[in-house]
Subunit: 576 residues, 2 copies
């Protein structure tokens, strides 16, 4: 049996002595995390985890760890937060402006790890010798650092954050993909364990690079990301990856924008034409060009691209030009002037019927070509990448294969969850005008017990309820999960309010009037199956003298005699 | 019941494929930690924790955490590793050359926390308002950073290390001292839980400053520290704090060294005289002077001290001079020339009969004045300080007291354990020519099961033993503590050798010859009561058909039929 972890009476000094309805309503979620006592901001983008927040952070960490071990078959390690300049130079990432850099007293340069591809690859190089040593997946749960220029959104985007980062190593593409899929499954299970609504979406692999990637998002209006979802085929993609078609092609006759690009060999000028009120989507542009675009010129102005084109081609007269027209345009659209004065019509090519702009609400889904797209605001909390040899090649990680050759680079994948960010995201998700609402698995406490003033009668009742909960063999997982210590000045109403604000799923109210019945107020959200408890309720309510009512503020209330409390709490916690 | 945490087969890639006796004997303990797969050094003074090492590190962390919660009544938080220049300037510690410093993209300066007095004081300032909010003790278990110029000794002295640091806050001196004593008790319990020999010693409070302090040491010949212990009175002090007397005063007639100092008001020149072959001890010197020494001049040469003295006193003729003579000297000793040419004999004072040099072996203990002192080499693993207002004053942390006044600064204490250092120290402590020997509470696994080649018969026997251990209700604490996955190429002998090298306390050997008897080889050390198991053995050996032998390499061996294995393992683990 687990030992009951004594709650220090003093913990309550971190909690507010009073909480006005106005505070609860008007503060942003990230401000309220500080007010209620989860975290405190010490400097811009840097946070101190207070007892309440640390409990939730540790619980999420453990939930993730359990799945990484049991389903991901991954092995936990813990790398240093200080990485070397040489490694980041080898992978060409040293010049990233978001790296925190430092020197030691001898002038040697380091960075704080923003992610650990370099370090883990360098580590595994020492242990992977043969194809027999793979597939293998390694993970850690450590703090990472990013010098965000404008850190915002509290723990959603701190400059120091807790990250679960995993890395897979395989000897061939199939195994690498199998590892990717295994971690994809594991991530799905992790977010299901949290009982929160989430989606996964194919995504651009961005700066980490590599072959393809998938993001995990919590849908919430406060999110900075936009996903496009098709109700017909169920596809959900990030805006970067979402392809859409207009109701009918060639309906746009307004002004046209143009963006120049070059093929990788610089032999061909590519002119992307698209409606002026839309945004060019580089992933769609890449697909239209079969990936043959020099992306280093992506953010250069058109003039610069033209100069490079003219410089790299001896006789522009004979050089190739390709026009890529978004399918929304027609010949009556108002095209900009063509920049080159001399060119041969024979060298002109054209691709049309492609969609190369960011999708918009209500356009046709590019996957099924039937459903309509719906934009969803979301918060990204996880990202998995199939990396190929992006890191193993510059860091030269090879292995002896079945043919006893030592020529192939290891195939990698990487898999991140922003653990502290996840706490911030779930705070947003459950937030209402009474405070937070956490899933039971990560709530700082699962149950609070609120009583009236400190007198012998109330203390006795509190003890009775507590010992019922702690001594029941089916309730072992409550051993360390009951909040019953409050500032003694708080009346029963203020304690209930604070418990609700903290987001504790169940609040057991021990009042003198109702005793030996107790009341349970529900803050936990039933995101998934909402009827699990109701079926039990209908079956057992008369046997257990269990009543359920709703009060005027929309908070579900239950009453039950003390002798049946344990059983009812067990049922109620199951679907939260 | 706890879920059985699946051990990944792949874990063994971090372990050596072979281990020569020579490696086991000749490598330093810190090298062997890398060879066997506990840690890997990524850069000078920086370490990556591999699965084996991380298990031990986490176990020690949890053992400490349990005591901090239950006995220390302390509250866990987790602060940022990035601290602000302003805070460290306020306490005059910014110029410490061991601080890792960094700038963000806006040029703002930070340091990585080497310890957290500044940050925790700044945090608690927001929550401590009244004397009623105290006493309170806060702790965290986070990585700390020190830019050691010559990091050495592996994880014993890394530039990044895991530290448990606690801080107490009290409204008066008595409460502050009570907190200090409570933590002293807690530390004693922590080290007793680890079942390792340790001592605590009064110590100099050094750079952290404050009123007084105590160190916790593991006695080991490889240690960099020296303690002086008196067998008569049991006193153990650090060399800095140890007072000793010679067998008989005034026996030294050789050359005399002299060190000058000034009183705090610079009115008096102090001349410390002591034998040339001994080391002046500033703590003893301070005691001899009732603390009236300007310590800022401590490391200045005599000439400089004289210049300051002459500058700050109008007429040297009339200024005061105090001679402090170590009790070992006599008038025949060879004193250096007195530096001042003019002085009045009336202004001359003298203190003799004091001991002001570092203690030496076999001198008389200064505490009891009876026993002889014995030097002990040791490794410091914990340090507790009573700080007074050293940090609360510069950071201005006051509180409203019982008289409703807001004038007093908070009284603080701080309490550190180098958690990763402790792993390194215990590695040294248990190290022998077969590898490591860990206390069961922090061994990476408590039990290993070694079998012969992978064939159906061996697999079946392995399963039998495992399910016996895992399904026994008294063995719940073994759920996640059995190592049975080895590189399949390793024979049974190599597996046993590796298990011993890893320091797993019990190695269960499942051989085809002895079956259904199994053998248990013991690596765990019985530091404390060595007879606990023997009493049980004598009582039960015939009932359980339990035999105990010693083999030629000094490794204790037991045999027992498989049906009694669980009970015997339970007995054996109790005193390790």
């Amino acid at each position: 049996m687990l030992k009951y972890r004594t709650l220090s009476r003093s913990c309550h000094i971190f909690h507010p002595k009073s909480l006005s309805n106005n505070t609860l309503k008007s503060e942003t979620t990230q401000e309220l995390l500080q007010t209620v006592g989860f975290v405190r901001r010490s400097q811009v983008g840097l946070f101190q985890w207070l007892p309440l927040g640390l409990r939730s952070l540790n619980k999420v960490s453990n939930a993730i760890r359990n799945r990484m071990d049991s389903d991901g078959g991954a092995i936990e390690v813990s790398l240093s937060a200080i990485s070397s300049k040489a490694l980041w130079q080898a992978t060409d990432r040293w010049n990233n402006s978001e790296l925190f850099k430092l020197k030691d007293s001898k002038g040697k340069q380091y960075c704080l790890t923003a992610t650990c591809e370099e370090d883990i690859t360098d580590l595994m190089k020492n242990y992977i010798a043969s194809y027999k040593d793979m597939p293998i997946t390694i993970y850690q749960m450590t703090r990472k650092y990013r010098d965000e220029i404008r850190p915002r959104g509290g723990i959603l985007r701190g400059r120091e954050f807790l990250m679960k980062d995993a890395y897979s190593f395989a000897s061939n593409e199939e195994d690498a993909f199998a590892s990717f899929q295994k971690l994809d499954d594991t991530y799905n299970k992790i977010f299901k364990d949290l009982k929160i609504p989430f989606v996964s979406a194919w995504a651009d692999s961005g700066d980490i690079g590599g072959e393809f990637s998938k993001e995990f998002h919590l849908i919430h209006e406060s999110g900075e990301d936009t996903l496009m979802s098709c109700k017909h085929c169920g596809d959900i993609s990030t805006l970067d990856m979402s392809q859409s078609y207009p109701e009918k092609d060639g309906q746009y006759s307004g002004d046209v924008d143009c963006k120049y690009a070059l093929t990788k060999d610089h032999s061909t000028l590519i002119c992307f034409y698209y409606p002026k009120d839309r945004q060019l989507n580089w992933n769609l542009a890449l697909n239209a060009m079969d990936k043959d675009i020099d992306l280093t010129l992506r953010n250069k102005p058109n003039d610069h691209v033209l100069q490079v084109y003219e410089k790299d081609n001896e006789d522009i007269m004979f050089s190739k030009i390709l026009r890529v027209m978004d399918c929304r345009l027609n010949s009556k659209s108002n095209f900009p002037d063509f920049p080159l004065k001399k060119y041969l019509k024979n060298n002109f090519g054209q691709i049309s019927d492609v969609s190369i702009v960011d999708a918009q609400e209500n356009e046709i889904c590019g996957k099924c070509e039937e459903g309509r797209l719906e934009p969803l605001k979301s918060i990204e909390v996880g990202h998995i990448f199939l990396l190929g040899n992006k890191y193993s090649k510059p860091l030269n990680v090879k292995f002896v294969d079945k043919e006893n050759k030592n020529e192939t680079f290891v195939h990698m994948g990487c898999y991140g969850i922003g653990v502290s960010r996840l706490v911030g995201a779930i705070a947003e998700l459950g937030r209402d005008s009474n405070g937070f609402r956490w899933p039971a698995i990560m709530a700082p406490y699962k149950v609070s017990i609120c009583t009236g003033p400190n007198n012998p009668e109330n203390s006795q009742r509190l003890q009775d309820v507590k010992s019922k909960l702690l001594n029941d063999p089916t309730m072992q997982n409550l051993q360390n999960d009951i909040l019953d210590q409050f500032n003694e000045k708080l009346g029963i109403g203020a304690r209930i309010k604070l418990s609700h604000a903290m987001g504790i799923p169940l609040c057991v109210i021990v009042g003198s009037k109702s005793w030996p019945n107790v009341e349970i107020e529900i803050r936990g959200i039933r995101w998934g199956e909402k009827d699990l408890w109701r079926k039990q309720f209908e079956k057992k309510c008369s046997e257990l003298q269990w009543k359920c009512t709703k009060n005027e503020h929309g908070i579900e209330k239950h009453t039950v005699p003390i002798q049946h409390l344990v059983e009812v709490i067990g049922v109620l916690l199951k679907d939260m």
